[in-house]
Amino acid sequence: MDAIKFILNGKEVAYEGSAADRLLDVLRDCYNCKSVKCGCKEGECGACSVLIDGTLINSCCVAMGAVEGASILTMEGYRETARFAALSRAFGELSAVQCGFCIPGMVLAAESVLAKNPHPSEDEIREGLSGNLCRCTGYNAIVNAVNNAAKEANGLW
């Protein structure tokens, strides 16, 4: 059986295991991407969100066979970018991170919102983050942080 080749955080990798394996498990166990959290394994909570070819996807619902040739971005890669720095600053200023478990996925969801729409309205931000559950914050701080990042980091998105 051929290895499954894909790009992970900018580097080409080849996965030798089964095409039926779950992307979430493979990212965590084989590539040590521990920022990808398991909150439900049913595609409901968004804690395992990653960007696959720029699209926000719950990695618990993706079989390895489906990622052949794809480019996958997790927080391990995203945290090296200027866009991440802008979001991190905005989240930090509003103390939008509490327990932190949903946050890597939430930040990738924010990236996905801003990549499509650099100047979103509050409703559009809420819509874009609605697949990512957070139990701590009540969401206001997170939504406001994404809004601030969009306003302050002009031109990044």
Binding site: E42, E44, R135, Y139, I142
Partner: protein
Amino acid sequence: MPLRGRTLIENTVDSVLDSVADSAVVVTGYRADEVESLLQGHYGEKVLLVRNNAYAATDMLESIRTGCRAMPACDAFFLLPGDMPVIREETFRALLARRDGQKRIIFPTLEGYRKHPPLIDSRFIPEILSFFSEGGLRSLWRLHESEIIEVPVDDAGVWVDLDTQAQYKQCKTKYESEQEVFANMEKISQSVVKKDHAPKIEGRSVYVGDYVAAKDGRPILTGKLLHAKVARAKVLSVEVPALPEGYFYVDAKDVPGDNNVNIVLDDTPVYCRETVEYIGEPIGMVVGPDEKEVQRILNEIKVEYEELEPVLDLRTAKQAFFDYEFGHGDMEKAFAEADKVYEEEFETGYQDQTYLETQGMMAEPEADGRMFVHGSSQCAYYIHGAVMRVLGCGPTGVHVLQDVTGGGFGGKEAFPSILGSQVAVAAHKAKAPVRCVFDRREDLEYTSKRHPSLCRYKMAVKDGRVTAVDCDVIFNAGAYSTLSAVVLQRGIIAAPGVYNIPNVHVRGRALKTNTTPCGAYRGFGGPQTFFAIERMMDHVAQDLGVDEIAFKEAHLVKQGDMTSTQGKYHFPVPLQAMIDEVDAKCDLKRKHEEYKKPQTGRYRRGMGLSVYFHGAGFTGSGERDLIKAVAKLRKYADGTVEVLASNGDIGQGVRTTFPKIVAHELNLPLDKVYYNHPDTARVPDSGPTVASRSLMVVGELLRRAAIKLRTIWVDGEEQEVEEHFKEPDFMIPFYLDKFQGDAYPTYAWAVNAIEVEVDTCTGLAKVLNAVGNFDVGTPIDYNIVVGQMEGGFLQGIGHASIEKMDYDAKGRIRNNSFSDYLIPTTKDVPNLTAMLHVEKYPDGPYGAKGAGEVPLVGATSAYVAAIEQALGKDKHQLNHAPFTAEDTMKELLKEGN
């Protein structure tokens, strides 16, 4: 008179220029020079300034004419008085959208009243200039009734004109963000970037599931629990298949010490005894290197049961784990003399904590023979005590570390003692590190949650006042007692609410059923009884024909009054002021009045209010007699200071707020003071991370320790200071056997207003507005405290509306995934506001009180009150929570809709 950091007139001008208009004509008069120079400097060309010099002698129409004369060429203009600073952009846009090319005057209306600012076609200008008549412009418009268009708007800003100081103050409360109000707050309240911000947002924080190996490098074995499949049975046999090399089956026979987990009592077994008492009870654990293989073995284990009749109905349950009773006054007399006696029954359901990180614990046998237990948890020393007993070793035989924890909300108060004991036994048997992380289904079905409740209240009323209340409170404890004793205590102490009722009797029971044991959840018994008393007060007021809000206000306790346990409210009770603030923020009273009128359309609205407290810190004498908290500071030679305490950061921010307090007292930069996750081998027992006590109690110990360290500080030396808890002098000693005395030193107070719109076709309710006003004393970090309030408030609204969980006829929890158990998303309550009212507590650090729990407690009653009002109180008396869309449909069906 500033508003939002600008003058009123700037607010007004901004409101038009920022939204729709190209330029503004401002007519000045009083102190015209000052106003003109301000506006000229700020807006330049965009504002045209004209003066009505005779402002004092003429009416507003003359000023309007002055403005019209100066009007540059345009199609239409808004007429806006300078003291209406908070009109929303949507209102201007809504008016513009109705232009149809005809000569029109387009008025915004609110509740049928025509308000400013009308959008006036400029073809009216000549008429305005030549119109001289009594009654101002209004009489001109009367001549043009057919040219007027009315546009209903949802903008309370059209009510706001600031003619008086009082109106100005009210406007400030309503339209300034809290951040602006707190712009000049005390230094300790000013927000900092949280200490754990960077590792968490970068995804570098290591939660228990993220370890790739044990501390000594050994691989970690995976443990999975064998859960009982029936609610009550004798376990006749457990047939385990042949185990491959390196795999183990662990059960009660492997427990080296006592097979009982120490919580409040010790009735919870580590692994089941001869019987299982609920679906999900752990029978044993399979342990091994490969997770899939562990799962395969688990699937092949055969358990033979002799089934027994389970107790599942709370109404017929007989066995009480705890049965308390207290009261004061003369109940018999009060009921005998009452004008009217009311009785009602209230029910609330389960609520799951639903921390995003599921339960997970890990145990590592160390080379020196100690057992190292760590994981997602709130109370390192609770686990320490439990594991010691289970392993049968002394205090030095075990040490417990709190890992980075993905939320707790009470769910990780006692449960990690159970799971920690289970993995410790497994690691002891396997002589290898073992980790057990629950999947979401296990977590939802088998871990502790909020107690469902059944409260029966009886209330006596004489001369329009409540003279007595008799509360019969029943909590569904589940199969083992875990924390039910203390949850029940807090619940029943709050049973009469925040009202001054002279005669009180309370009975509270935690009954055993063959269901998942319930336990701690933010609010800890309070949400159940406050739901009952708040709804009871609403319903009694309705029957008496008085306004619910006014009825509650008339009964509020005040400073110096007696508590339900014959203690005293020692400090000011700011509830009336807090209601007024909420009213100013969201038009509580006006809307509540408005929505009382019969509603018949598809969409109907309601506004509900709840008023309540949360006793700050442990109930009763626990802090003094049981916890006896100790906290330390260790200063190193390099001048850095480490906080040594056992309170875990579970997202609430103590890794930041503890060092903030210490740095503040020592006048050090915040990066010189740090607080790591506690390991019982290194830190003293400053008590558990529960009861909204960490900051108030331990924070105060740290403040005092820092003062002590400051006085003995010697550069370049390692120094350590220690502080012990002392009960404040003013406390009336609490006796649990009689439920007498001060149950709490002080209280966090709260007022919630929730406005809903019910769609009578679908039953869905939209929360239009949720305003919570919380007095938790001085915020030690504004953002952190507001984050707690917003998060807790939303959890409360979830409990009130969509978080429905129950069990089937076999005793199995039916809602075991996020598709069945819904928690709020970003979209559910976009208009949620948390306000802070500060009543300082002298024995908390800088005036801080307990904060974590209070935001959750009152949402259920406010929400259900709002739904009831929307559906019409005359036809619908709602007395259970959660109140889901299905419940609304059932109510509407009763109406025959």
